[in-house]
């Protein structure tokens, strides 16, 4: 019996369906808790080509949920190691490895080579990037995200259906990772497996695809429900008009009277709004110190308080600034809201 005999037996698959799977190309963005199990099942099912994007390395703390990886993989690049394991699972599948983050620069070129995108990312910036790129390239994408014991799942941009922005129009700075909240390994495993099921249905053109619906699961309560989502044509039109743009997540600072100096890199989020907030990355202070007021108190911050401490040392010792105050625990402590 052939490798795929058990699924070919299903009327939803059959020999024609298996051919569809063999001709399909699926891109998995983020080969972690969600993307790993999804990759294993799609490899098993005989999807013709699978793209694996991840710029991260395997950490020992990943192993409880990212069951594709072994102890000997710790310290190695996830996308590369994933390919090695998956090739052993099914040598008929072709893999393409991208050992880089998905960015505004590379997204268009990568996505156009695939039929469906599976989101295994852990941050809002990349989710919006996938959403907008898939909208413009007219590709469906399968979304999942988790928070502690809860998960969300949907298929976006499927046959002109709703997009991620139709559910969550604006990005948020509440980027809370599994590292920060804790998670049982089975939750992303469960959702990643459901994502793989959606991908298979999309490729095969069978069943009910989870488009126009947001599935919510809670493994502690053993509960789930499905919410109907509607298209927000104005959100879709905005992206069609603007194209793919960087996602800026803005915020307000508690005190609008103070001067602030943000020494983080320009891409770091969230971005405080206000006329009295300067953004000069640590590395540019020497060339741009003239921009900083020297006659009023200036609060210097970064993400955690470390770089801002260094910045103050540099500005004090090299340029004689004596009006700087460090925000000890980083930007989160001075945000309003």
């Amino acid at each position: 019996m052939s490798r795929y005999s058990r699924q070919i037996k299903l009327t939803e698959v059959g020999p024609d369906g298996q051919k569809k799977l063999r001709n399909a190309k699926v891109l998995i963005v983020g080969v972690g808790g969600l993307g790993g199990p999804a990759a294993q099942y799609l490899t098993g099912a005989g999807v013709g080509k699978i793209g694996l994007i991840d710029h991260d390395k395997v950490d020992i703390s990943n192993l409880h949920r990212q069951v594709l990886f072994c102890e000997s993989d710790v310290g190695k690049p996830k996308a590369v190691v994933a390919k090695e394991h998956l090739e052993k699972q099914n040598s008929e599948v072709q893999f393409q490895v991208f050992e880089e983050p998905l960015t505004i620069e590379n997204v268009e070129n990568i996505i156009k080579q695939y039929d469906v995108v599976l989101d295994g990312t852990d941050n809002f910036e990349t989710k919006y990037l996938i959403n907008d790129a898939c909208l413009l390239a007219d590709k469906p994408w399968v979304f999942a995200s988790i928070y502690k014991n809860e998960g969300q799942l949907s298929v976006f941009n499927y046959k002109n259906g709703p997009t991620y922005r139709c559910v969550f129009p604006k990005s948020t700075r509440q980027n809370i990772s599994c590292e920060a909240t804790g998670v049982l390994g089975v939750l992303p495993g469960f959702l990643g497996t459901l994502q793989a099921a959606e991908v298979l249905k999309i490729i095969l053109g069978v069943g009910e695809v989870l488009s126009g619906k947001l599935k919510l699961v809670n493994i502690m309560q053993a509960s789930e429900q499905t919410i109907k989502i509607n298209k927000r044509p104005e959100e879709i039109a905005k992206i069609r008009q603007s194209g793919i743009a960087p996602v800026y997540i803005d915020c307000n600072l508690k005190n609008k009277e103070h001067w602030y100096l943000d020494v983080r890199e320009v891409f770091e989020q969230p971005k405080p709004k206000g006329k009295k907030v300067l953004n000069i990355p640590l590395g540019d202070l020497t060339s741009r110190h003239q921009e900083i007021p020297s006659d009023q108190e200036v609060f210097v911050f970064c993400q955690t308080g470390k770089r801002s401490k260094n910045a103050i040392e540099i500005l004090k010792n090299e340029f004689d600034f004596h009006n700087l105050k460090n925000v000890e625990d980083g930007i989160e402590t001075i945000i309003d809201g």
């Binding site: 983020g30 999942a144 995200s145 969550f168 919510l216 919410i227 809201g337």
Partner: protein
């Protein structure tokens, strides 16, 4: 009128419960109810929380007696 409000993610944490029955007075749209529910909670980005009424994501709906409300924040983890 009485409605059942279900909380998810960070909202459930901030309220310290997964659901509750609320007694409401007067006519209220979903978006107004959302603001009322989130008022006083320590959630950093309230705008990002979405509201569903009877499993339908639409904040313009007028709330009726017996409605089931869900407050849904976005999740980022993977």
């Amino acid at each position: 009128m009485k409605v059942t409000v279900k909380y998810f993610g960070l909202v459930a944490e901030a309220t310290e419960k997964s659901e509750e029955v609320m007694e409401l007075k007067g006519e209220l749209t979903a978006i107004a109810l959302k603001e009322q529910c989130l008022k006083g909670l320590t959630i950093t980005d309230k705008d990002s929380v979405q509201i569903a009424v009877n499993q339908n994501l639409d904040d313009s709906i007028t709330i009726k007696d017996g409605d089931e409300i869900a407050l849904l924040p976005p999740f980022a983890g993977g």
